[in-house]
């Protein structure tokens, strides 16, 4: 019966357990997200502050107070200076509602923060050494069991544990890896659903506030129109001038599109989709290579 075990285990693991190494891909996606954030956040923050100022002014015009001071602020600042900084940051009553309703820059900033938190959590899950730690701890547990068996029942039982223990430890490591992948797949599918639906809205807001590609596209359309009219007029000087303007407009538009934070946003979502396809699809040769090495190790233990 023993000889049938290893190939069966191998086949089952190979079918169910791809082990794509997504740590690098996630790290690169986080770099793109950081670039997007750096390009979009200052303008979004300014716009959000402007929205907040307008909302507070509206409350003030209605004769309502728009700031709330934390309850214990006055008692804190009445006391002696200590090591802690007194947290007396006023809370705006106009702040909360901005996260509801029509898309605005405060919402865009909040969503960018959530994207950052999501990728950080995904990265931690992808690069955690936990499955290796589980395997190592299972190895130590086997040795402890072996000692216990020797102490209580003599060497016979201890030999059995020594023989089977390493395979159990390796198996536990692989099971932990499978759980990790299944969890990552579940979270990435959920996140992709959010990205797909939110992308157009977030892109619109970023483009509106933090990008000028649209402006340069309009300028380009005008330049094309001018050139066509100049060319049709038959006046050489007009056409030469319009051609120069058209080339300049094209260069500015290309530059604006290339540096647009919206482009980065699309790249982040596209990369995430590609990673999901990879983790959700069949294993690559590299994945299978790593997996077969683990299985060979288990088989060696089982066959000895």
């Amino acid at each position: 019966m023993r000889s049938a075990g290893p190939p069966l285990i191998g086949a089952a693991l190979l079918l169910g357990c791809a082990s794509p190494q997504l740590g690098t891909d996630i790290a690169q996606t986080r770099t793109l997200l950081a670039e997007l954030d750096a390009a979009a956040r200052p303008a979004l923050a300014l716009d959000a502050a402007d929205d907040l100022g307008q909302a507070e002014a509206a409350l003030a015009r209605q004769g309502r107070a728009f700031l709330v001071i934390p309850d214990d602020c006055t008692s804190r600042i009445s006391g002696a200076l200590g090591t802690d900084v007194s947290d007396c940051t006023p809370v705006s009553l106009a702040d909360e509602p901005r996260l509801d309703g029509t898309v605005n820059s405060a919402q865009a900033l909040a969503l960018l923060d959530k994207m950052d938190a999501y990728f950080a959590a995904l990265s931690a899950l992808a690069t955690a050494t936990t499955p290796a730690g589980i395997r190592s701890n299972a190895d130590k547990l086997t040795i402890a069991l072996q000692d216990a068996a020797t102490a209580f029942a003599g060497a016979g039982l201890a030999d059995g544990i020594a023989e089977r223990g390493p395979a159990v430890a390796a198996g536990l490591g692989i099971v932990a890896e499978r759980i990790r992948l299944a969890e990552m797949r579940r979270h990435m599918k959920a996140a992709q659903g959010v990205f797909d639906e939110a992308l157009p809205l977030l892109a619109d807001q970023i483009e509106e506030v933090a990008g000028d590609a649209r402006l340069h596209r309009t300028e380009m359309l005008d330049a094309i129109g001018e050139y066509e009219r100049a060319a049709a007029s038959g006046r050489a000087d007009a056409q030469i001038r319009a051609a120069r303007d058209l080339r300049n407009a094209a260069r500015r538009m290309h530059m604006a599109e290339a540096t647009s934070p919206v482009r980065r946003l699309h790249q982040v979502v596209r990369r995430h989709r590609a990673m999901l396809a990879r983790i959700d699809g069949p294993p690559t040769l590299e994945d299978i290579d790593g997996l077969t090495a683990d299985i060979a190790e288990i088989n060696t233990f089982l066959e000895t």
């Binding site: 509801d100 547990l141 402890a144 000692d147 216990a148």
Partner: protein
């Protein structure tokens, strides 16, 4: 069932795509006219294409204005839940690792006690 807002967005999107297709068609015809040596016709067709492209820009603005009403609130909440869930997954894995370690320590203590007592 699609809301009135979604229907409006869909309608605008449909008109936008038809207009973009028409621009593509005008571009092909303008190029053909230029190759045939009819610069006047080519130029007229290009100007028509530019006019339509400006209309597409306006349609895109209308589409955006309609979409903005939906807000990002629900996506912020959904992504927050996904990130928290991912962190919980890691905690569960780490807990398994810790439990194995604790069991090992527990067995070692029993072995030592057994050696003392036996």
């Amino acid at each position: 069932m699609a809301s009135d807002l979604q229907l409006a967005i869909s309608k605008i999107g449909s008109i936008k795509i038809s207009t973009i297709n028409a621009i593509g068609d005008l571009g092909i015809r303008a190029e053909a006219a230029r190759r045939a040596g009819n610069d006047k016709l080519s130029s007229d067709l290009q100007l028509k294409a530019v006019e339509l492209a400006k209309k597409v820009a306006k349609l895109r603005e209308a589409e955006k204005a309609a979409r903005r009403k939906e807000g990002l609130g629900k996506y912020i909440e959904q992504l927050d839940r996904v990130a928290k869930d991912a962190r919980r997954s890691q905690t569960k894995l780490e807990r398994t690792e810790e439990i194995l370690k604790e069991v090992e320590t527990f067995i070692r203590i029993i072995v030592r006690v057994a050696k003392i007592l036996l």
